[in-house]
């Protein structure tokens, strides 16, 4: 994962002489409005290990991933950007625009070919020749392919890049397509969630910088350290589930007592994410703790699995599951033992789903 080559070494490899390199450093110093004495310092920095360049692209998305990223408390987003990576392109944050912005992409390919991380937020639409997402007059998918072909590895931020998310929900009018289905020859790490937890995002980046590799991934390409458990497994309301104590309606007596939200649609039993263990916004709370069921936003196609309020764990495996969950849910109200049975059923369903997906999505 690490970038062994310094910028200087990369330039030499591309046939650029040391003289030209030093001239580049002088020009950079002058371009920054600084004196010639800075040229030497820039040269020194470029000859030693640089911060890992990150190109952060945006396709069809809502920018919630970027917003989540800047909420990170440890490390602070400002520290990541100033001290850990070199965020050379991110159209949401970068100072330049237009030609000056797009020029950076080609500069990055020239300087860091095969050595930069491509962070993808959102996904490319493929209908209408890709022109439902236009950047610089061209389809976004072109830019994505070009940068991907020169990158070292890809981070698929959020559920858009990982699975398709809301614009890919039925009937997916723009044919919005997740990254791993468009780019098939590069390693992709999926960091799903709509959005992912801030500290999961910075955790993935810092792991890659620290250990020079991807963290261990599951069969679907997600880092196990954040996505191996279901929210239900780690939920602090779990004892109420096991005891058959449920919220029947929002703001009822059970809601005020913090009972289990399974019957008002919580998708925690089938959702792999770190919300229950890490919580959100500096570990303050998470959806279940605030009183609303989990939407399942880190799962593939969570938009098309029936209402967020139906007590159904997975519509994808059809009638059998719906019947099981409804039937068990109906008996559940007072019976702890059957509560466990319901959970077992949900677990089986989830397991089946993983098995179904495992082969197809393996990267």
């Amino acid at each position: 994962m690490g970038i062994e080559q310094t910028f200087y070494e990369a330039m030499r490899e591309h046939g650029i002489t040391r003289r030209s390199f030093l001239k580049f450093c002088s020009l950079t110093a002058a371009g920054l409005g600084m004196g010639p004495e800075f040229a030497g310092k820039i040269a020194y920095a470029l000859e030693t290990k640089p911060r890992t360049p990150v190109i952060w692209l945006h396709g069809l998305e809502c920018t919630c991933c970027t917003e989540s990223f800047i909420r990170s408390g440890h490390p602070l987003a400002s520290d990541v950007i100033l001290s850990m990576i070199s965020l050379d392109y991110d159209d949401t944050l970068m100072a330049a625009a237009g030609y000056q912005a797009e020029e950076i992409l080609e500069q990055t390919i020239a300087k860091y070919d095969g050595n930069f991380i491509l962070a993808c937020e959102g996904n490319p639409p493929l209908n209408e020749d890709g022109m439902y997402c236009i950047q610089g007059g061209k389809p976004y998918v072109e830019k994505l392919r070009r940068m991907a072909s020169h990158c070292k590895a890809i981070i698929a931020w959020g559920s858009c890049a990982s699975w398709g998310c809301v614009q890919a929900a039925h009937p997916n009018p723009t044919r919005a397509t997740p990254i791993h289905k468009v780019i098939t020859d590069k390693p992709v790490i999926k960091v799903p969630g709509c959005p992912p937890i801030a500290e999961v995002m910075t955790g993935v980046i810092t792991y890659m910088l620290t250990f020079d590799r991807f963290p261990e991934l599951d069969r679907q390409g997600r880092p196990k350290m954040f996505y191996s458990a279901r929210n239900h497994d780690k939920c602090y309301r779990r004892p109420h589930f096991d005891a058959g104590q449920f919220v029947e309606h929002f703001d009822d007596e059970g809601a005020r007592k913090g009972y289990c939200l399974y019957k008002v649609g919580c998708k925690g039993p089938t959702t792999h994410n770190a919300c229950a263990s890490m919580e959100w916004n500096g570990g303050l709370s998470w959806p279940v703790k605030s009183g609303h069921g989990c939407l399942g936003c880190s799962e593939d196609n969570f938009w098309d699995r029936g209402s967020f309020y139906s007590t159904v764990t997975d519509l994808n495996v059809a009638g059998r599951v719906e019947a099981t969950a409804n039937k068990v849910g109906g008996v559940l109200a007072g019976a702890a033992a059957i509560g466990v049975a319901a959970h077992a059923a949900a677990s089986v369903i989830s397991h089946l789903k993983d098995n179904n997906k495992g082969g197809a999505s393996h990267d």
Binding site: I42, L60, T66, Q100, G137, P171, H249, F250, P287
Partner: protein, 594 residues
């Protein structure tokens, strides 16, 4: 080529050099701006193009209306929550659901927190670099920055050592040669006017604000479980109060909300507002970018003081429409009236049965129709120049009684000012007095930026007011947060329509829903950036971005700093504006797109 005058009174000249800026960065989503400049590099024609389409309303068709908030919330993650709130309001309106007082207070608190955080992030992280030269900050004397800071604010982080540390960090960063998000920008341009010490102060606060903004949103985390994209529910809020049980929002969390409010007020009043005034004082000569703001402005009004009462008298931020710059008359706006709000697609990449007819959102249709005009340059997948006489944007053209309108903080402030709102008047008059500027000065790029800052302060203080009201309500024994009487679909009428509106941070936002047999039959949204980034309409009216860019001189056409300034002053949100609407998924599916 030719000089023309638009229906809304702007002079256009499509001769001279064409300058294309795509992408416009530091915004949400994908936007393109093309301008024509004359021999003196003054902008004489402007073309605003929404570059993306996601089709969310197609996706909503046939779904459970109680789920719609979650889908529409994903229209935008920057102004997170605003579409969710608009959506639950629309569904509640359709189904005749009254929400509890506490739910109204919590929603107001969450939306005010959103204003505070969103405006702060916009100013420092999306807009400041149009005015602040990062590299110049390296030349500052930290002592001079300290003196400047202490002369304008009582903010405690103001010592020379503090600014020296920041400067040293910035220096290390720049000397590394890896400029990250600051690379290839316009540093050193003559358009930058701040002295080095002011630049260092602003850059320091860029970093401070980046760290602080994540505190403000914890109000969403407490009531909605997380941010971005907190949770909502039709009928109220999903969170409960429990002052006697251990399972819901209790005194500890309420204390945290109260503490966040206090800290937000301090940060905005001691950092943001003084910075805004200091920066503005160096750009008083830069009076460009007024555009539509001195003519037509729209605000729906928002923040109901008492739940379920939508009269303007009950709004903490009163709304209305201003036409032709006549501040003596505020027109009432009716979002249900088919004659008032209409959308046109003559210049948008959509198809209507009658291309010159506008449609009210309840009757609207959208079928994408991506075609370039005869005078466009390049190819379908490599556009060099658009033809604004034909279709040229994924944004529709919404009009109020046929007029192109500007929405957003400046529109809200001018409407509230015209209505005689004392608080707003005091804020505006105070700022103008401090900067020694007359009232018309607010009809400008800087006026838009200043109104957003004032509104950030207003919102932070209003959080205190709403929180205190909520506590008084709890004290009186009312702890309800949700009305579940009409939760079950079997209690709903067979065929109903509803509308919900919110004043989002970027401006007036409306969702129109048609529910038939318990499912969404049609769902449409008209969002702030649809108004502001609007293309031309069949009558020839240009939109707010296009109008605002006219007449602006550029120091160097290769460095589009002036374009960025004015466009950023609107705080564009393209994912919002261009998800756009359609009632009929089947119709769309029949369109041949390849």
């Amino acid at each position: 080529m030719t000089e023309t005058v638009t229906a809304n009174g702007f002079k256009l000249d499509t001769g001279g050099q064409r300058v294309v800026v795509d992408p416009i960065c530091r915004i949400e989503g994908h936007l393109r701006i093309e301008v024509n400049v004359d021999d003196n590099n003054v902008i004489r024609n402007a073309v605003s193009t929404g570059n993306m389409w996601r089709g969310l309303e197609v996706i909503l068709k046939g779904r459970d209306p109680r789920d719609a908030w979650a889908f529409t919330e994903r229209i935008c993650g920057v102004c997170t929550g605003v579409h969710a709130l608009t959506s639950v309001r629309a569904v509640e309106d359709a189904l005749g659901i009254q929400i509890p007082e506490n739910a109204n207070h919590i929603r107001n608190l969450m939306m005010l927190a959103q204003y505070t955080q969103d405006h702060l992030v916009h100013f420092y992280h999306l807009h400041a670099l149009d005015w602040v030269d990062v590299v110049s900050a390296l030349k500052a004397d930290p002592k001079a920055t300290s003196t400047l800071q202490q002369s304008i604010s009582s903010w405690p982080k103001s010592s020379p050592g503090y600014f020296r540390d920041t400067q040293a960090r910035l220096k290390r960063f720049v000397e590394s040669g890896q400029l990250g998000p600051f690379a290839n920008a316009y540093w050193g341009s003559p358009a930058y006017k701040l002295p080095p010490e002011a630049n260092l102060m602003a850059v320091t606060h860029y970093l401070e604000a980046l760290d602080f903004q994540r505190e403000i949103v914890k109000i969403h985390t407490i009531f909605g479980g997380r941010n971005p994209h907190p949770n909502w529910v039709v009928g109220g809020m999903p969170c409960s109060f429990s002052l006697n049980e251990n399972g819901a929002i209790n005194m500890e969390w309420l204390n945290l909300v109260s503490s966040i409010i206090d800290r937000s007020i301090n940060f905005v009043d001691q950092v943001y507002i003084p910075d805004l005034k200091a920066i503005a004082s160096f750009y008083k000569e830069w009076t460009y970018g007024g555009g539509l703001s001195s003519k037509n402005l729209l605000s729906y009004g928002d923040f109901p003081n008492v739940a379920n009462d939508w009269s303007q008298d009950n709004m903490l931020m009163p709304g209305g429409a201003i036409l032709n710059g006549d501040l003596s008359k505020v027109h009432e706006v009716d979002v249900r009236d088919p004659e008032q709000i209409q959308e046109f697609v003559t210049h948008s990449w959509y198809k209507y049965p009658d291309e010159n007819q506008g449609l009210h959102p309840w009757d609207g249709i959208t079928v994408p129709n991506f075609v370039l005009g005869p005078d466009a340059k390049g190819t379908k997948t490599d556009i060099k120049q658009l033809d604004e006489n034909a279709k040229y944007s994924f944004i529709k053209a919404p009009r109020w009684r046929g007029n192109a309108m500007e929405v957003g903080p400046l529109a809200r402030y001018v409407v509230a000012y015209a209505r005689g709102d004392e608080e707003i008047k005091d804020q505006v008059d105070g700022l103008l007095h401090d900067l020694d500027l007359p009232l018309p000065a607010i009809f400008s790029t800087l006026g838009r930026t200043a109104a957003r800052g004032l509104e950030c302060s207003w919102a932070a203080h209003k959080m205190r007011y709403v929180f205190d009201n909520m506590m008084a309500n709890l004290k009186a024994g009312d702890t309800a947060t949700a009305n579940m009487d009409k939760w079950e679909p079997n209690t709903w009428p067979g065929d109903v329509k509803g509308v919900g509106h919110v004043e989002a941070p970027r401006g007036s936002l409306g969702h129109w829903v048609h529910i038939k047999d318990t499912k969404i039959e049609n769902y449409q949204a008209v969002v702030p950036t649809t108004w502001n980034a609007s293309p031309r309409d069949p009558a020839g009216n240009i939109g707010a971005y296009e109008a605002a860019l006219l007449g602006t001189p550029m120091a160097d056409v290769k460095q589009p700093l002036e374009i960025l300034r004015t466009v950023h002053s609107f705080d564009p949100c393209l994912a919002c504006s261009t998800h756009v609407m359609t009632p009929d998924g089947e119709e769309l599916a029949s369109v041949k797109v390849r």
